[in-house]
């Protein structure tokens, strides 16, 4: 399964706004499939955003975060072209890590 | 609307009761199933098949496969009755649908 992360980071007035959409099922472990079998819990536990190598946000998620999670936040500083990194790890130990640049 | 449903559910209760009175044979069950199948085909051709019809028919086939001919016959009769209702609904609608067209 390809782990996709879409990031959009832009800066205005000295503040960088980051939006990200992460492809992940975020199965809660409470939902049954068509055959009536419980779909085991499968969700991102930790997601981390970095700006030029420095952590700007650490998120801890439970199964109550929606499928294909969206997150938007902002931090002071950052300029066009700076690298923005995102990484996550889920409860099954799967990981993904991508980086982009501030637009 | 609601009365329609009540009428239909009343049949669902009655039909099996009626059917079991004679203690039907394999051939009788098979006949009931083929009767139902014929009506189901007509309903499908009229783009008006009810889910309950198909469910009853499926139950009839399952009962037949298990050798429960009494149940197979009663389910088949239910399916046939429901198919007949949808055929009549479609027949009536062939004339009445124009009354719903926006003007």
């Amino acid at each position: 399964m390809a782990h996709q992360i879409l990031i959009h980071a832009s800066t205005a007035g000295g503040v960088t706004t980051v939006e990200a959409l992460v492809k992940h099922p975020m199965d809660s472990g409470f939902v049954k499939d068509k055959a009536g079998k419980i779909i085991p819990a499968h969700y991102i536990e930790v997601i981390e955003f970095t700006h030029a190598g420095k952590v700007v946000l650490t998120g801890y998620w439970g199964p109550a975060v929606s499928k294909n999670p969206f997150i938007k936040f902002s931090f002071k500083g950052g300029k066009s072209g700076d690298p923005i990194g995102v990484s996550w790890v889920d409860n099954k130990g799967e990981k993904a890590n991508v980086s982009s640049n501030i637009m | 609307m609601r009365k329609t449903l009540i009428a239909v559910s009343a049949m669902m209760v009655l039909v099996p009761f009626l059917a079991q009175a004679g203690g039907p044979s394999k051939a009788v069950a098979a006949k009931a199933i083929s009767n139902a199948a014929a009506r189901i085909k007509i309903a499908e051709g009229m783009n008006d098949q009810w889910l309950a019809t198909l469910a009853a028919f499926k139950a009839a086939k399952a009962a037949e496969a298990k050798g429960d001919f009494a149940l197979a016959q009663s389910k088949a009769m239910t399916a046939e009755t429901l198919a007949n209702l949808s055929i009549q609904q479609a027949t009536v609608q062939k004339k009445l649908w124009v009354n719903e067209v926006v003007k």
């Binding site: 975060v65 997150i71 936040f73 799967e94 | -």
Partner: protein, 168 residues
Amino acid sequence: MTHIPTMTKFSPRRRELLLGAAAGAAALAVAPGVLTGTAQAADVADAASYPAKAFAQTTETAALKMMYGAAPTHSADVKMGAPDIAENGAVVPVTVDSSLPNVTAVALLAIDNPFTMAAAYKIPAGTNPGISSRLKLAKTTKVVAVAQSGGKLYSTSKPVKVTLGGCG
């Protein structure tokens, strides 16, 4: 029924895929030698840091105690944006923000979900405490937003009504 007279066709921003799909952990294995210890390690979310116990609690008090070792006081300086009625409980946009000084953490809790803690964030200096995300709400529930400032917890809450899906 509320009409929105001013709303004409709403065009969402369409975005191209801005960055590639890292195909799982394997994609991380870039050229050997590039992975030089700490700098790269900071880029990798650390599973060991996950506060699993806090996320396994079923009450607000227990979850917050496990997470922050404290109980919150109500504060108007913690702001939460959430709909009165969710269009779909599976995707409820919820925002949290705070005007308190030096916020070091924010969290969202859904009181009537199977597990109370929904999401928690560590806010380093320089990062604004305003965060938008989308939550799953199992049923109508009170949603609580918490902010940690100067080691103390502050919260606000709002009920969100969750109804069944509509015609199909």
